[in-house]
Amino acid sequence: MWLGVDVGSVSVDTVLINDKIEVFKSAYLLTAGMPIEAIKEGLRKSRDSVPVLGVGTTGSGRELAAVLTNADIVKNEITAHAIAAAHFVPDVRTVIEIGGQDSKIIILKDGIPVDFAMNTVCAAGTGSFLDHQAQRLGIPIEKFGQLALQSKSPARIAGRCTVFAESDMIHKQQLGYGIEDIIAGLCKSLVRNYLVNVAKGKPILPPIVFQGGVASNEGIRKALEEELGMKVFVPTYNKLMGAIGAAMLAKKVMKDKRKTSFRGFDICDMEFNTQSFICEDCPNTCEIVKISSNGKVLATWGSRCGKWDLSK
């Protein structure tokens, strides 16, 4: 079995895959600002007695996950997502990934990524936009998709940024629009935002794979299909694609390596301490984070110059 860990800004996903890239065990957890606890919990849930032959980590917190697990490979989330998508849909041309706070587009040709883009500064095209609005409307996010599908005439909601979308939505509510029309409108506005901000200028060709947490939302999927005029395919493990990609990469590197460096599932019960301090050695005054366990420093990061980095 190969273990993949994807640590994003909103969630931690862990997955165990077998030789045939079938998902054997998995977990999806909200980070809730405590990534270390979330990683440990995720591993606890995918813990198994079968031997782990390799570990890969990905996502914006991939370095942290790599330190905790002592991973065999650390890979950026763009490559990890592309690899997983190309496995499930070998002729995929476009990967649309919308997650909690990040979204990306990856263009593939003959099974390899040839172009990509990630959202830069704006959250309007990501899942947090929906979460925020769902909360405001008092509707559980899980019901969002179903409700959106019931709409006959979606409200037009300006979606250039979350602030505008919100005031526009309040206005539409006051005009008496039904809640399903407003929600469908929000889905459309998220999709338009994504297409304008993230996918801007990229050739979107079929087959299109739509993955990431937001792909579970049927309202968004429908809005995306309408906007593109094309079918999009949502893989079964849409939320886990990053972690699956990381596990696949671990499987690949272990071809040339005999033994995994994985610390073992015992890390679920280990205590990890993080400490931070400000380095005053130059005017950059970097905030350095130190991770240790049992009095042993496992990693430090945060310096601009690299002086506190431990050699791995």
Partner: protein, 310 residues
Amino acid sequence: MVYYHSIMKIGIPRAGLYYQFFPLWDTFFKELGFEVVYSPPTNASLLKKGLEYAHSDICFPMKVNFGHVYWLKDKVDVLFVPRFISLEEKKYMCPKFMGLPDMLKASISNLPPLLDVNFNIRKKPFIRSWIEVGKRLRVSANKVKKALVKAEISQKSYQWNNLNGGDGLKIGIVARPYIIYDKYVSAELIDRLKEKGMNILTADNLIPEIINKEIAILKKPIYFDFGEKNVGTALHFLNSGEVDGFLYLISFECGPDSLLKEIIDDRARTSDIPYTTLVLDEHTEIAGILTRVEAFLDMIEYKSKTKFNL
């Protein structure tokens, strides 16, 4: 009246066109016998001052520039902040450069006198601008001319050497000089890539003929200084395959580059040279930049193998 006191200190902000012309400027002022004081390479606390004093809606490199001026202001007798209007025939600098001296005077109090001489090749040759600089410093035109000859030699003979030797990947980087060569602004990109054994190629490593050849086939001339240089370099990278891939670094609020990017993107659609734009600003997280750079390097690697052989 002439006072024979200590040597006059000229402050040069390590920002903006310093990154293109430092060999010339340094030699020029030193030849004339002045002491030159530079602000340190950009760092977080210097940038913080820049953010405090610059208008919030100007571009990141200009905010950096403000930070450097702030750092120097109480340490020198005059500040060299010319008004760059046009550096090439039929071209204009970005309006932010034209307005820089005024913006500084309006935002930062207690500035020393600024050497805010116009550099505008559309109106007068540079030599006349330098003579004016000399005049403000009470130096004769003759001395200025002599110093300038030496300064130009320094500039021409400066080696923009980013190659590692070795047979590592060749990566092109296209960006304005104050983005690419300012290590803080560019998240030490050149150093990071060189550490991995890669060779870096920038516009400064290409001979002008190569760039001009690419520009000649454009439908419309580009009116921005550095515009042709950057677009020409990018097109050369896309057309020649001299590099394994290239990165285009731009500042988030940069008007000129957002236009020029369209020309590059358009050509890139029909080229199979991997290319990615990195957008930088004061909120940029280094981690986010590195994620993109890694994915870009993966793209190059996979291209040479085709198909994830998993």
